[in-house]
Symmetry: C2
Subunit: 193 residues, 2 copies
Amino acid sequence: MDETSQKIIDATMSLIRDKGYVATTTKDIAKTAGVNECTLFRKFKNKKDIVLSGVEQEKWRANLTPEIFTNVKWELQPDLEMFMEKYMEKITPEFVNLSIGLRAPQIYEETAPMVMKVPQAFLSSLIQYFEEMEQRGKLPHLDFECLALTIFSSTFGYTFLSASFDKKLSGIRKEQYIKQSVETFIQGIPERK
Amino acid sequence: MDETSQKIIDATMSLIRDKGYVATTTKDIAKTAGVNECTLFRKFKNKKDIVLSGVEQEKWRANLTPEIFTNVKWELQPDLEMFMEKYMEKITPEFVNLSIGLRAPQIYEETAPMVMKVPQAFLSSLIQYFEEMEQRGKLPHLDFECLALTIFSSTFGYTFLSASFDKKLSGIRKEQYIKQSVETFIQGIPERK
DNA sequence: TATGATTGCGTGTACTCGCTTGCATACAGT
DNA sequence: ACTGTATGCAAGCGAGTACACGCAATCATA
């Protein structure tokens, strides 16, 4: 990948993150990348081709591979906190907004599988973790798929809400949220005084 | 609101839900509404005006007012389940997709306050519920804001993920998810066998 | 010094965008 | 029968869209 093409891809993805695919014009891209507009079409087939090249790059994919979750202690509290931390570290507001910017009918069919990989990786890693925990005798047999979905949903939910509304919805910070919610997941809400 | 204007608004909001604001053209709207294109501009100032009229209508707002959450039993399990059920009943995939379709720089500043009202209403209702539960001696003093955010995030997360990926991410059904996750919230994950 | 590849620049094409205008028609209430 | 209002229809506006082409300049390598 030559430098010019990379600059074009970077500009394209940044603009899509900020304005969405349809509102991102080739003129915009050229200007942001600091190249002439016709250069885009010398390097790529068309606008769509730039985006598809972008989503295939590690740089523009949240590189959330299952290997990230191998460093576990086989203790619920530190492990769940680590899972959530790693997710929020990779899935930045920028990535969330990019994912939404890619939701245009013209490209979504091709980009959706890429976008879906992240939640899929997280979910399956979490399920696998729980199953291993059961085998190690540390967890009883439960509906792990549902449990994993609950934890993932709350992780994803917080990430998305933060990206969308920043601090306008809630001032709870990331670290506090992770700590408190993991405590809730493990101990439950303590009833009575 | 005359019939023609309503048809125009309905068509506009449906198209935005499906394709986003920028990709929705006035030609599209006219065709979908079954009116002539110039009629749009006789009824409304411009394209943006149609959308803003739409988001102000109850019909196109998730009518999730705090009153919905007044029918509580002051018992954690049935109440939390009710909260989640009511949310998912109102926040359909259609509404989620519409909210995303409204995320265009050209209109977002004006539509965001509307979109934000729903999570705000849910969150504050939940916090208020917890505080009342404390006063009734059924809950100890906790960080209710954080707890509410955890429960809301998992509710929102599930709703959003279902709207985005349908059953491709997880086959867990709504009813099962609510039941299981509320159980987790209340009892925690049972450790050991 | 010569050559081939890369890029900028200007111009252009075919099309779509939001939006406007002039005019004909249909239908309501008076 | 008269009049005002709502709508359709056809045409068109200027601006912007993705994309194309020819030509000159640059630059590394031979």
